[in-house]
Symmetry: C2
Subunit: 144 residues, 2 copies
DNA sequence: TGGTTAGATGATAATAACTTTCATTTTCAA
DNA sequence: TTGAAAATGAAAGTTATTATCATCTAACCA
């Protein structure tokens, strides 16, 4: 609950900083997204939003998610199915994904040791890491 | 040199197994791709191929890369620029990528310890890993 | 070897996802 | 309140990918 309020506040302040205006549509789309746990696509989010407000258009959802991505409140990801999927900013820090190649189920995990080794590997090449993406592909317990 | 011959042989046997026919166009596209070190897009590969055989069409390049991907000789990747890029099957085992978010330079690295930790993390969730993708994003030595 | 046929090709059309445009509506600071 | 700036929704435009279709060609066989 406090989570949702906080994200909304972050969004509000981002909007204010950028000199944008707040609208009912954007608020509702953002709120709906913030309450989502899955990696949602634009079409899926649009469908969800339309249940209560049928007159919202695809473009508005698109623009809202673009804004949320810019502000760091959403993360855009490509899992290889040809669609961009949006993920909520995790409260408890970064996590990685493991995707079942049979049923498409996505589980999450995080491993501090891996992160550390990544940093070290990058450093060796003279790179500075600001972000990373780790995806494992395999079979989930139900599909093995 | 032997590398290219081997990959061609693998392709030939894959074609035979599947009951397909061999063609000059496909051979030339595959050969060109095998000699490529970069993560090449369809358009880039088409351009390369057209230098010697201008009458080859996009569709043939597309279909050839699809075939190479199916046969495991190429790896399709999405680095987030909206295009699928194809990478040669590495001789020396799997590697990961580190991408400069300023100049787009892509460096490669591999770390056995990371791979091992991935396996362990997956196992904890009951998953079996068959593949993975690790990308670090940051600044390269020239762009820091 | 020539005929047959299933696969391959190249041009083009069709999709699908994403992005932009534009007329209109809404927000909000003065 | 009002007017400039931003937002919206519908629709059009892009871009990359995939499918279609009329030939063409490889490869097997009589």
């Amino acid at each position: 609950m406090t989570e949702i309020v906080n994200k909304m506040d972050v969004l509000k302040s981002y909007i204010e900083t950028k000199g944008l205006k707040s609208t009912a549509q954007r608020d509702y789309i953002a709120d709906t997204f913030f309450k989502t746990n899955t990696h949602i696509s634009l079409d899926e989010l649009l469908k969800k939003v339309k249940r209560k407000t049928p007159n919202i258009g695809y473009a508005t959802v698109y623009r809202t998610m673009k804004l949320l991505t810019e502000s760091g409140l959403a993360i855009a990801r490509q899992f290889g199915d040809g669609q961009t999927r949006y993920e909520n900013l995790p409260e408890d820090g970064h996590h990685d994904h493991i995707i079942c190649i049979k049923c498409s189920r996505i589980a999450e995990f995080s491993n501090q040791k891996i992160e550390q080794l990544q940093m070290e590997a990058a450093k060796k090449l003279g790179f500075t890491v600001v972000n990373h993406k780790l995806e494992l592909y395999g079979y989930c317990p139900d599909c093995v």
